[in-house]
Symmetry: C2
Subunit: 233 residues, 2 copies
DNA sequence: GTCTATAATATGATAGAC
DNA sequence: GTCTATCATATTATAGAC
């Protein structure tokens, strides 16, 4: 794209030129789609923010819809890979047995939080997912619905760590945990406002501890069983 | 609109005709904006779904943006009113003292869940909020950010019920609770898929108990303090 | 691969008859 | 208040020069 010397170098080396442009577009798209929703971001705004030509999106991805799917795929792959790695490590450390609940929760939670701090790439991944579900083309929604394989692994691991809980309740509480994670990407402005600036997304470790504490406690909540308490009033 | 006899009747009675059309538009807008995002829903699609004329939106609301704000306002008012009512009742029942944590949580949680079951009007309110934040005009976003007054009441009530917790942590855990609620409107399809159909949003009471259990446990989670545990590995 | 110019279409909004 | 017709504009996508 911009640096012509490098371009010539890459071409000479037989490499598929600079794939830089593609990456830059993906980065901008992820951020803008997350911040402003897919439909509301025009290709003009997007390509201008990315510093590339208007036609580049269609050249590299084929269409705006295809770009949305590409940006989702990239984010999902990176996040799921890291989660799976941490879960595997915890299981190995447990010698084939069940890892402590806190470690399972950490494997689920920490990659999402870490990325939100360190990588521009995944900072807004979860927020993007919310929009993709409402906005995107059918294909993107299907991918999203099917993107449960890695969560299934966590469901199984959690079920082993919480043998007294019916499987159904494990699923519900895992689902709630995802909601807690979601809150880190979605409503931080409201939290900042609510707390008068006291609560901020600045200290990675501190936030991680809070989330793990909360989610672990929720998973360990006493389960009363299917009977609903009779009102005394 | 459609029923001419009623229209004439209302006109004869001196009432401002049928305000039905306005309501129908608000209902459709709330649902569609929530499902597909504000920007992706055209006025043509919206008015067709509502069964009203294309020009009706501009006539009754002035613009598409103004419609978004109107639909948000209506939902926020109804939900906050009900939450405040339940919290007040709990406080009165406690005779000026601090209500049990579970009751505070119920006041926060039950109205949102109940509406999601009973009222088409508010069924998708929370999901809509997520989109409004990314999508809407600046005015809508500001309203959203400032819409913390009623949450402030809950923060204070929770702080009294959890006197050992620093105020900052109360805010964080209230924020996480909102994330749990959010999960009921946002990713239910993923939960259904993940659980193989085992988990569904069908039984209001059962879901309410699950959410209250989870959120209460999270609020009651032990608080280790600002010190971060040293890794033993 | 990148860019300009433009085609084809969809959108929000409005004027004006009823 | 409702409807049809239409304007002005913005959008995605593409053709074709470089």
């Amino acid at each position: 794209m911009r640096v012509v010397a490098e371009q010539a170098e890459a071409d000479a080396a037989g490499i598929a030129a600079r794939q830089d442009t593609k990456e830059v577009i993906l980065d901008s798209a992820e951020r803008l789609f997350a911040e402003k929703s897919y439909a509301s971001v025009s290709l003009r705004e997007l390509t201008q923010a990315a510093g590339v030509n208007l036609a580049a999106v269609n050249y590299h991805f084929g269409s705006k819809d295809a770009l949305l799917i590409a940006v989702f795929r990239r984010g999902a792959l990176a996040l799921n890979r890291e989660r799976a790695r941490m879960l595997r490590e915890a299981e190995e450390k447990a010698g084939g047995g069940t890892p402590p609940l806190r470690e399972i929760v950490s494997a689920l939670v920490l990659p999402a939080i870490r990325y939100s701090f360190t990588s521009t790439r995944l900072a807004l991944y979860n927020q993007f997912v919310a929009f993709a579900r409402g906005d995107g083309p059918a294909e993107a929604r299907e991918i999203l619905d099917k993107d449960v394989g890695h969560l299934q692994r966590f469901a199984l691991s959690l079920a082993r760590a919480l043998p007294h809980l019916p499987q159904q309740e494990v699923y519900w509480r895992l689902h709630f945990a995802m909601g807690v994670l979601h809150s880190l990407y979605t409503d931080m402005k409201r939290l900042e406002s609510l707390s008068g600036g006291l609560c901020q997304l600045d200290d990675l470790e501190a936030v991680a501890v809070r989330v793990v504490d909360y989610v672990t406690a929720g998973l360990e909540a006493p389960f009363a069983g299917p009977l609903v308490q009779e009102k005394t009033a």
